[in-house]
């Protein structure tokens, strides 16, 4: 039986460092090539030595597909392609291809320039790596080689995020990457057609969450910001530069516009401006509203949101500031936080997840006194709010996607093991399909039941169609006669005549004969005639012929009469029929002849 093998090198029962190997129909595909944010050593990149110890990766991998530009999905890309060495095709969507290098470059700068690491990839490596990228369009089927084809679907999540459908022959796998089933202010919802893959590999970040309606969240968020502004307070929103930040910007921008608010909104600059540029360009990847209105005004051309300068933080009066990074662990957001923490009028809104150990995590857990470096303590008087704006599918969204795609097996990655376990149970119960959740390095094998295509000649098909009654009931299997020819790796179903012809064989006919004795005083010809008339009266609707050479033919059954040698009154009936009509003859024998016999005999007791 053919098998599909899936091995996560990262993201198996874990969030971060997404990297999954799939072997399908003899092809090896790597899905995503991410890094882990939590580590600074070798563990941050996937273990490529799992694939090969000393050979080049190119020989083992047929292609690499990147789902979106987040570093935990593409951060190890230059390392893999340039430092480990991979020259095969890399696929990603156009926006990902545009934004990915910006993030990689930023990441490189922080690691090399700030932290002073050596033996890291260089700018040139990023560029070289991007040269190997082949861009994908949505719903475009790309032929990687003769057998392997991939197709991208819209995934929401961030600009350019895609789900991929990988197909070899009749086996297929869908990898979702990160996706979002509820649309937000700038992106639409993920969508896939009923492709019925053998395995659906889905993320499961929010496996145990069913989120409130996003409108509630938005309303709460806006209300909190608005109230704080009206009080004259300052609002700090720590964000990561790309993704959620744009959504929140649009949300605030439109709110400011609608409500005619005047308080300034700032965005700490840097890579955001470059990225915003791409957001403006890739309008087709955004949601309905932005797509429809961009002719009048591109929503990403913000009117109220201005670039932030360090000196603005001390300005009097209300303001809203988006600052990076999102967990308050360093950089501008932390600086501003320190300045504003003392005033209870101010507010900090955490729009996403915070890793343990960060200041963000501490204040969310209600800590009101923070120890800063140099033994200084910081009193946190400002209000702390948490709003989940994460653009991952929640449990219900995952279920919805399963319903859309109708997979035969399910495989969960990119989530915490405990939560996955819960969802796994749900999926198995609800859809009665198998669900797997391999850990890193653990291989899941799924046997498939691929259908074997057979060519059939049109004439044969038509002939057989004509035989079987009316058309409805396509679900009911129907038997047909034909000859299966296996020849040079291809299967063909043809009619028997053609098969004989192709094989150069002669047709042999198989005939059965049987003798029946009966008593009849008449002459041979007379008896035959009597049988003929009798059959004619019994078997209405069949062709019965009386041939001059002394035979009666019923369809293809031949009946002859001869007198036996011993007794002229004893007639021997010779019946002969071909293989196909065997049952028929039996019927004749069983029904008709006894009739004749009794009739004949009754006349002559």
């Amino acid at each position: 039986m053919p098998e599909i093998k899936v091995t996560p090198l990262g993201a198996g029962q874990d969030v971060g460092r997404s990297c999954i190997l799939v072997s399908i129909g003899g092809k090896n595909i790597m899905l995503d090539c991410g890094m882990h944010m939590g580590y600074n050593d070798d563990r941050r990149f996937p273990d490529f030595s799992y694939i090969t110890q000393n050979g080049r990766l190119t020989d083992f991998l047929d292609c690499l597909i990147i789902s979106h530009f987040h570093l935990d999905h593409c951060g190890a890309l230059p390392y893999m392609s340039e430092m480990v060495g991979y020259d095969g095709p890399i696929y990603m969507t156009h926006p990902t291809k545009a934004i990915c290098p910006i993030l990689l470059e930023d990441f490189r700068k922080i690691t090399v320039d700030k932290k002073g690491e050596t033996n890291f990839f260089t700018s040139q490596m990023i560029k070289d790596c991007m040269k190997k990228v082949i861009p994908l369009n949505l719903h475009q089927t790309v032929q990687v080689d003769d057998e392997l084809e991939i197709k991208a679907y819209y995934a929401g999540h961030v600009l350019g995020a895609a789900m991929v459908h990988i197909k070899v022959g009749s086996e297929s796998v869908v990898y979702t990457g990160d996706y979002n089933m509820t649309p937000d202010r700038h992106l639409g919802a993920a969508w896939i057609d009923k492709c019925r893959p053998d395995i659906l590999i889905s993320e499961s970040t929010y496996a145990t969450t069913i989120r409130d309606s996003k409108r509630c969240r938005e309303r709460d968020f806006l209300k909190k910001v608005h109230e704080s502004i009206e009080r004259g307070g300052k609002v700090l929103i720590p964000v990561f530069a790309l993704g959620r930040a744009q959504e929140l910007c649009i949300l605030l921008e439109t709110f400011w516009e609608r409500m005619n608010l005047k308080a300034p909104i700032y965005f700490s600059t840097g890579l955001t401006e470059k990225a915003n540029h791409y957001y403006k360009l890739f309008i087709t990847w955004t949601n309905q509203k932005i797509r429809k209105t961009f002719v009048q005004r591109n929503m990403f051309e913000f009117k109220h949101i201005k670039a932030f300068d360090r000196s603005y933080a001390d300005n009097p009066g209300p303001m809203v500031v988006f600052a990076t990074p999102g967990m308050l662990h360093a950089g501008q957001s932390l600086q501003i936080f320190k300045k504003w923490a003392g005033n209870e009028k101010n507010m900090v809104i955490m729009p996403g997840y915070c890793v343990q150990g960060t200041i963000g995590h501490k204040i969310l857990n209600g800590q009101r006194k923070l120890e800063m470096e140099g033994r200084a303590t910081l009193d946190v008087k400002l209000q702390v709010e948490y709003m989940s704006f994460s653009a991952h599918a929640d449990a219900k969204g995952i279920m919805q996607l399963i319903r859309m795609a109708e997979p035969r097996n399910m495989l969960l990655v990119h989530g915490e093991a405990v939560k996955m376990e819960f969802l796994k149970g749900k999926i198995e119960q609800e859809f009665s399909i198998d669900c797997y959740m391999p850990a890193n390095g653990e291989t899941t094998t799924v046997t498939t039941n691929p259908s074997v295509p057979v060519d059939i000649s049109l004439n044969l098909l038509k002939r057989e169609m004509a035989l079987g009654g009316p058309l409805p009931d396509p679900k009911k299997p129907r038997t047909m006669h034909g000859t299966l020819i296996m020849k040079e790796n291809s299967l063909k179903l043809v009619s028997s005549e053609q098969a004989l012809k192709e094989l150069g064989l002669n047709e042999h006919q198989l005939r059965f004969t049987c003798h029946v004795q009966l008593q009849d005083p008449h002459s041979d010809a007379d008896t035959l005639h009597r049988i003929y008339t009798h059959l004619k009266s019994v078997l209405k609707g069949y062709t019965i012929q009386h041939l001059p050479d002394g035979t009666v033919i019923v369809e293809s059954i031949v009946i002859k009469v001869s007198s036996s040698a011993e007794d002229s009154n004893t007639k021997v009936l010779l019946l002969s029929w071909s293989y196909q009509v065997k049952t028929w003859t039996l019927f004749l024998e069983a029904a008709a002849l006894p009739g004749v016999t009794t009739k004949l005999s009754s006349r002559h007791p």
Binding site: P183, G188, R258, Y386, K419, G425, K426, P472
Partner: protein, 971 residues
């Protein structure tokens, strides 16, 4: 497409050709003959096709259709090319649609053609033709039966198009009244007589081609529309199709399931995988709810819309649509114990609103929570969050329908509707506000809900704010804090958008009269009265203070204890507001306030009685005026003067009659002016001496002319009688002008020209108002017409003399009031003209000025209303607003919200420009030539050259001054 064009053409042509009946008969044989010859001439199929295409463009008369059909059929049998046969088949269908032609004579031939046809496409087209024939002959059951049989025969065709058409035929023609079986047994069709149309169609629900499946569902729906009762067995099959791979099938299946749920709401269906049963309508509701999260947005829209009309669904199910978490409960009824457990269990889902509330807790019974919505769960939550605004709007509308029939559901969906106020698409926001208003009779807003509703008051879109004001007018609130909150927010709104003044006041009026008891405890605070100290008297012109007073006074109307809390100045303010804003402040019975009470009694009964008495007064005044026999009668002037004044005042007091009163007053003023002009001594003086008086008379004539145009075009509801009267006055004014011209100017040529023109005017008057002439006895024109033969031949000087005497001797024409007469009015709300800050802009460039105005009783404002901008240097611009700038908030009411662009050369200091609205008119489009006729250029040409159309504009709003300052451009 071609067919449609051709049929339209047919219908147009037929009435035209009716008149030359003989010609038509002559052309009849030639037409079919021509086709015959053409087709015979055709050497190959391409030619034949060309001929047929040409033929299809021409109409065929009902009489010759049959002949043409025969020729086509004859050719059909000979033709070997599929495309030509296809075209012929389609032509047959087209022809049988000809009006006045009964296609029963060609049915046999059409059916016969089917038997030998090999091409599937042609077969499908022929069936389509049969369908047309069948629908043309609804009264022939025998024919229907035959056609249905034909459809049965071809149902097993391998081509999907043929099956489609067969199903369509069955759907449109299948027997409604009785199962087909009985009639069919005699006919002995091969399919067996025992099966009816429905079961045959339902066989094709499982067809391999999605198009056929759709057609089968559509055919079934068609049967339902034609009144056949669909069997309940279909339900299961239809439900299965809800999971079809193709969206059009799913969409049709949603409709099918809906139809069945309406037919058999109370039947019981089993729940698969359990031994319990539920009502069919509930089951269907659950299934359709499921479709709200379908992959195709078309299906989602369909499903969301459908949900709105399933009113029989049990409340239990209905409420699930707003819930995302309670999931498996829907499928099986549970014991209370289990439910309690589930409530506990549902806690394991994090809502994402609190940090770390999804941290793993102890394992609970996870089996009770069913993740996938196997029923109605959260359908609306999904629908309202959908990516496509079409789905969201459909969901909002469905919510509205369901909420209107179920108060408890209305209560529940409130939060969701309020959330929609924050949608990114304005249309959706607006729609949800409207919906909330519609269901607001059922609900009482809680404080927190009110809070979110009120937050929208700051929206910059005027439409949204006004819709919200409208909503607040109908809202019930529960506590006095709510009232306070609402007032606070409304005042904030007023502060931020001063233009909302009227709307806010109106809103407070309703809020006050709805919740008198809630307002009562707030009164001291609102009016800032103090038990011991006198507080300073608030500023009466402050819109916010007026707003508070409007709230309080309206509440006081049904709360007699409230006035006791008022302070002295409040009573004074009441009297003032009652007079100035009488539509917002109700009459109050205030104890011990004489002057207020007295004023009160005058206006106290604004019922029908006072309108009637005012009407009576109006009529009496008019009657009094009509006693004036001659314009020169003594005292006539005073009487007119007095009556005019009375009428104007009446118009102010009684708004219902304002139009009529104004109309009469204007008319009388015209008469008065005319009278004064004629009574001048000047007529007896020598020409050179009276130049000065002459000027006043000329001015009077000019003014009368202008007034007549106002009379004609500013008022709606005029009948032709009044129009005649107005034209009569105009004629008088023209006569006056002529007389004056004759006296002042010496040029004879000019005079002759004017005389001729005047005579033309008289003639056209006669022509236009022929029916009204009997009513104009003894009037100026009556007398003129008597003298007409003489006038047309006499010299100009003589004519002038006659006119002069006739003018002076003719009596006053009595004015008859029409039933309803309204004056077109316009009020510019924005700009207010109060701003002292000049609008600065660089000279040579433009600045946009927002105009917001309400128009009342203006017909066709898109074409008539214009904006005039008057610059201080006398330059004036007339701007024509776009048709889209007009909205229609109510009957006879329009709203103009537009922008005008201003520009000027540089000024040294800011100065004011005037903006006003103009009503454009053109005398050529008077009521006598219907505007629809004007559309045809031919008919215009055929008319005799009408009198030169007088076009002009009437200013009908107060001018608003706007401060602007064009700065010189910086180099």
């Amino acid at each position: 497409m071609l067919f449609v064009v051709a049929t339209v053409f047919l219908h147009l042509q037929i009435p035209h050709e009716e008149t030359p009946a003989k010609k038509l008969r002559l052309s009849k044989p030639s037409k079919s003959a021509a086709l015959h010859i053409d087709l015979c001439k055709a050497t190959n199929s391409t030619d034949a096709l060309q001929y047929l295409l040409q033929f299809a463009r021409k109409p065929v008369e009902a009489e010759s259709v049959e002949g043409v059909v025969r020729i086509l059929l004859e050719h059909y049998y000979k033709e070997t090319d599929n495309s030509v046969r296809l075209k012929i088949a389609s032509l047959l269908g087209l022809l049988s649609k000809t009006q006045g032609f009964s296609p029963d004579c060609i049915v046999d031939d059409a059916i016969n053609t089917l038997s030998n046809e090999k091409s599937h496409q042609v077969l499908a087209q022929l069936l389509e033709t049969l369908l047309i024939i069948g629908t043309q002959l609804p009264e022939s059951p025998a024919l229907r039966l035959r056609l249905v049989e034909v459809a049965y025969k071809h149902l097993s065709d391998t081509y999907f198009g043929v099956r489609n058409k067969c199903l369509q035929l069955l759907g449109c023609l299948g027997m409604v009244d009785a199962p087909l079986g009985k009639e069919n047994e005699g006919a002995g069709t091969s399919l067996g007589g025992l099966r009816d149309v429905q079961s045959i169609i339902s066989d094709y629900f499982g067809d391999q081609d999605p198009r056929v499946r759709t057609a089968a569902l559509k055919a079934m729906l068609q049967l339902h529309e034609r009144g056949m009762k669909i069997h309940q067995i279909i339900y299961d099959q239809a439900c299965r199709l809800l999971t079809d791979d193709y969206e059009q099938v799913r969409s049709a299946a949603v409709q099918m399931v809906w139809v069945l749920s309406q037919l058999y709401p109370e039947s019981i269906v089993p729940i698969p995988s359990s031994n319990e049963e539920i009502r069919l309508v509930d089951d269907a509701f659950g299934k359709i709810s499921h479709m709200v999260s379908d992959g195709s947005w078309m299906v989602r829209v369909q499903a969301a819309k459908t949900l709105g009309s399933m009113l029989q669904v049990s409340p239990h199910f209905l409420e699930q649509t707003l819930d995302k978490k309670l999931m498996s409960d829907l499928r099986r009824k549970r014991t209370a114990h289990e439910r309690a457990k589930e409530l506990f269990a549902s806690g394991e889902f994090s809502s994402g609103r609190k940090w770390a509330d999804d941290a793993p807790k102890e394992k609970l019974d996870t089996n009770t929570v069913n993740l996938i919505a196997s029923g109605a769960c959260g359908a609306f939550v999904h629908g309202l969050e959908d990516e496509m605004f079409e789905v969201r709007i459909a969901a909002v509308e469905a919510l509205c329908q369901l909420a209107r029939s179920s108060p408890s559901f209305a209560e529940k969906c409130l939060d969701f509707l309020v959330d929609m106020f924050n949608d990114e698409i304005e249309e959706v926001r607006l729609q949800s506000i409207h919906v909330l208003r519609e269901i607001s009779t059922h609900i009482t807003l809680r404080e927190d809900q009110l809070d979110t509703v009120l937050a929208v008051l700051e929206d910059s879109s005027r439409d949204i704010r006004e819709a919200l004001h409208e909503l607040l007018c109908y809202t019930n609130v529960s506590t006095k804090e709510c009232i306070q909150l609402a007032l606070l927010e409304l005042l904030k709104n007023l502060n931020k958008y001063p233009t909302d003044r009227n709307s806010v006041w109106k809103c407070l009026k309703f809020l006050g009269s709805r919740h008198p008891t809630l307002v009562l405890p707030l009164v001291p605070e609102l009016l800032s009265t103090h038990p011991y100290f006198d507080t300073p008297e608030p500023d009466m012109d402050d819109p916010a203070y007026i707003a508070v007073l409007v709230l309080v006074f309206n509440a006081a109307k049904s709360c007699p204890t409230m006035p006791a809390l008022f302070s002295d100045h409040t009573f004074r303010h009441y009297a003032y507001l009652r007079d100035s804003l009488s539509h917002l402040v109700p009459p109050l019975r205030l104890p011990g306030r004489k002057q207020v009470y007295g004023l009160d009694s005058v206006d106290s009964g604004p019922g029908s009685g006072s309108v009637e008495s005012a009407q009576l007064f109006l009529q009496q005044s008019l009657n009094r005026v009509s006693t004036i026999q001659n314009l020169e009668a003594p005292g006539a002037q005073d009487l007119l003067d007095l009556t005019t004044r009375d009428l104007l005042r009446l118009g102010e007091l009684q708004t219902e009659l304002a139009g009529a009163a104004d109309f009469c007053a204007t008319y009388l003023r015209c008469q008065l002016l005319l009278m004064k002009a004629l009574q001048e001594k000047l007529w007896n003086m020598a020409v050179p001496l009276c130049l000065k008086q002459n000027v006043t008379a000329t001015a009077a004539a000019q003014q009368i002319l202008e007034e007549t145009y106002k009379l004609e075009f500013l008022y709606s509801g005029l009948e032709s009688r009044q129009v005649a009267t107005i034209h009569h006055v105009r004629l008088q004014a023209k006569a006056l002008q002529l007389v004056l011209t004759a006296r002042t100017r010496q040029g004879l040529d000019l005079l002759i020209g004017s005389c001729e023109k005047f005579l033309q005017d008289v003639e056209s008057f006669q022509r236009l108002f022929l029916t009204e002439l009997p009513h104009l006895q003894d009037s100026f024109v009556d007398k003129l017409l008597e003298l007409m033969p003489r006038l047309s031949s006499c010299k100009p000087v003589e004519l002038v003399k006659i006119l002069q005497t006739t003018l002076r001797q003719s009596g006053l024409l009595q004015l008859r009031l029409p039933e309803q007469i309204h004056r077109a009015t316009a009020t510019i709300i924005e700009p207010t003209g109060e701003s002292d800050n000049p609008l600065r802009f660089t000279s040579g460039l433009v600045v946009a000025l927002d105009i917001d105005a309400t128009l009342e009783h203006v017909q066709d404002p898109q074409n008539t209303v214009k904006v005039q901008v008057l610059y201080p240097d006398g330059q004036s611009h007339v701007i024509h607003p776009k048709p889209g700038d007009f909205r229609k908030p109510g009957p006879h009411r329009h709203r103009l919200i537009t922008q005008v662009y201003l520009s000027h050369t540089a000024w040294t200091e800011p100065s004011q420009i005037e903006v006003r609205l103009l009503l454009a008119y053109s005398s050529s489009s008077t009521s006598l030539t219907s505007p629809s006729k004007l559309g045809w250029s031919e008919s215009l040409e055929s008319l005799p050259p009408a009198e030169a159309a007088v076009e002009g504009t009437i200013p009908f709003s107060k001018a608003v001054k706007v401060f602007i300052m064009p700065k010189p451009a910086r180099r």
